[in-house]
């Protein structure tokens, strides 16, 4: 196993962790964190796989995608946080309503 | 290994010891103020020693200057943040630990 494979596996681990937390946790802030962890996992997967060029420089195309991805992720996080605050200001609760109970 | 290399090794090791001591202080000291002492001062010296060690290996004067600039910024941020956290803690009524 090369370093690239190892980090790619870590990326898969992060994606799974994030996805699990996204589904299980009710609190929206936690969901936002979970999405960010998933995003980081996907970025890690992309960049790790880009390193499999051998001795040459890594593939720059995934790098470019990830850079824009990081910036877009932070702005999406800002939007999600605003939505969360708006929701909790109206319902007094930073969680999504549970369909089964209502 | 030249003499310069030996000097680098010694300084880097010394720096690492300070980082270690800073973490020990962070873990052992009894309250937030004393922990601030440990973290700010020990890590600052640790980074300083490492910067000097790497500066004598640097390829150009500009690289030396950049390393020193990095240290200066960390020093400024460290001292300011230590003050701000201590100030906030005082204002929030966290009493300093006394023997």
């Amino acid at each position: 196993m090369s370093i690239a494979h190892f980090y790619a596996l870590v990326g898969v681990g992060l994606i799974s962790l994030g996805l699990y937390a996204l589904i299980v946790h009710a609190h929206l802030l936690r969901k936002i964190l979970a999405i960010n962890v998933m995003g980081s996992g996907i970025f890690l997967l992309l960049v790790a796989l880009a390193k499999r060029t051998g001795t040459a420089l890594p593939d720059p195309v995934p790098h470019a995608m990830v850079i824009t991805g990081i910036v877009v992720a932070v702005s999406a996080t800002a939007l999600a946080l605003t939505l969360m605050l708006k929701l909790s200001a109206q319902t007094g609760c930073a969680e999504l309503p549970d369909d089964e109970k209502e | 290994m030249t003499l310069i290399d030996y000097l680098t090794v010694v300084l880097l090791l010394a720096g690492a010891i300070f980082f270690f001591a800073g973490t020990v202080g962070l873990l052992r000291f009894p309250d937030v103020y004393t922990r601030l002492h440990a973290l700010t001062k020990a890590d600052n010296v640790g980074l300083g020693l490492m910067v000097v060690a790497l500066a004598i290996q640097a390829e150009s004067w500009a690289a030396v200057g950049k390393l020193l600039l990095i240290w200066l910024l960390v020093m400024l941020a460290g001292a300011s943040v230590a003050h701000l956290v201590a100030r906030g803690a005082l204002r929030r009524g966290i009493r300093p630990w006394k023997q």
Binding site: - | P30, S80, Q99
Partner: protein
Amino acid sequence: MQTFYLALALFLLLTLGAGMWRVLRGPTAADRMLAAQLFGTTAVAVLLLLAQASGNAALRDVALVFALLAAVTAVAFVQRAWPKQKQEQEQPQETERDVD
């Protein structure tokens, strides 16, 4: 030399791991924040070591950005996120246990 730089970076990473205990333990929000500060400084040192080990001067720029922005999170905490006079009273208990 390269091995030595990497080994030192590894050592610093280990001290970071030890510092995580303070984040988990607290007891106050400020203590957790301190550990984040520790991360900033140590990461700068690790980056400088990696820069030297790999001979890639660009990593110094990463360290520079870290150093410049190390304060921003802490400032956000101090100015905005630190609860005002909430019961941060776990302090005495914790100290008694930690002494000796």
